[in-house]
Subunit: 260 residues, 2 copies
């Protein structure tokens, strides 16, 4: 049974995609069989791994909206998943079609469990499944929270990023109570830490006080190489193995998985 993680925070631009892509790559490069699921209509995880979204016939949208009559969602899975340039790393891609999924699913039965149903076989085939989510707590993110057992919460070391945490925790409790009792918070990752500012220190202190024992030791520094890598279609840990950002993501991978 795969270890399953969703990377979630409704605040925008906090490093969800960057965390999902780089942690997935570290796991794949360590020999784990990894599936990255892109559950964000922006499709940044898809393009951040070098996949041309325009060339795709199908994507996660088709898995979520399969009516289960002509074909079960999990039967579609093999047609939707695509390989990447990294051994052991495959992706369920997202295209702009995904933006239409919440409207299509609004009256569907068990609409929050569509992704879990679609990944039915994947749970047996992979060692690790990581889901990148959109900056929202809507139906797509509910699907992601219902499909996994652990949550990774990236928090940018800035003031606005603190504000949404209570809202996020409320939704997590809701999902635990009504949709996925085994869901738990795997941990909080501090991102874009700029050691030159007091702001980052203040936010780090506040986050560690709010989440005692659940904030990873590893802090991801602000590092432009992390922002450059997507334009080359590879994760930073491939683009520039030795930069501060990549080294931090390797430390995070070890802290999250090897200590687990």
């Amino acid at each position: 049974m795969a270890a399953t993680y969703a990377v979630v925070n409704q605040k925008g631009g906090v490093g969800k995609t960057t965390t999902a892509v780089n942690v997935a790559a570290c796991a794949a490069m360590s020999g784990q069989k990894v599936l990255l699921v892109d559950a964000d209509p922006q499709g940044n995880a898809t393009s951040g791994l070098g996949i041309d979204r325009g060339a795709l016939d199908q994507c996660i949208y088709d898995l979520l909206t399969a009516d289960g009559v002509s074909m079960e969602p999990f039967e579609l899975f093999p047609e939707v998943v695509v390989p990447t340039s990294i051994d052991n790393l495959a992706v369920v891609p997202a295209t702009i079609n995904l933006a239409g999924a919440s409207v299509v699913l609004v009256n569907a039965i068990a609409r929050e469990t569509k992704l879990r149903q679609a990944l039915q076989e994947a749970y047996e085939r992979y060692d690790l499944i990581i889901i990148d989510t959109a900056p929202s707590l809507g139906l797509l993110t509910m699907n992601s929270l219902t499909a996994v057992q652990e949550i990774l919460i990236p928090i940018q070391c800035e003031y606005y990023a603190l504000e949404g945490l209570s809202q996020l925790l409320e939704v997590i409790h809701l999902v635990q109570a009504q949709l996925n009792p085994s869901l738990r918070i795997g941990g909080v990752v501090l991102t874009m830490y700029d050691a030159r500012t007091n702001l980052a220190e203040d936010v780090e202190e506040e986050v560690r006080n709010n989440f005692p024992g659940r904030v990873f030791e590893t802090v991801i520094p602000r590092n432009v190489r992390l922002a450059e890598a997507p334009s080359y279609g590879v994760p930073a840990v491939v683009y520039d193995k030795l930069c501060a950002g990549s080294r931090a993501y390797w430390r995070l991978y070890q802290e999250v998985f090897e200590d687990a």
Copy 2:
């Protein structure tokens, strides 16, 4: 009739709220009567202007979901709008309740025009109305695009921020064709420009090529004072008038409004 702007980009963390709050403050400090509408359930614009969200009885949610039977939405407006510490600047605040609006409105008649209806009187009362939107192209953002005549598009000088532009333009064309024919793009604002990196230069060049003549000359630099200001509940142009970020927002204000 007020000049009306929506600050829109579905990519998260690109500086929408920071732009809305600081441009609104510049306008108010220049003597214009300004209304800032927070159409994002995160409510960052509300707290970024020092308003305690927990102490609010009503917010934009109540305007959008008023059934028009017991009370017209625009009649509710005076009860919902709150003053700020800045003269001439008032806010229609957002609380977490707003997250429920799209579900409530899904079957409402003319659901995309609820905000326009609610602001009916405000159009006559203010010189400028600025709407801060969520990182999404859903119903709340459709409401914002239907309620204004101009769009400001902040673009972070990073690769992922480029990817969503064609999706955004498609939605804008859809709104122009079906909901708001007078909608036009007021301009694109480059944000978080870090002159030390090639990435920013590359992205700037690409954006200026994609949007000839529609990108403001003023570029907002990455400046930690912009990120510090929200924790004091005031815009950066009040928190630290002379920092590079504030000076850039004053230049932007002049370029957007005084040249118009």
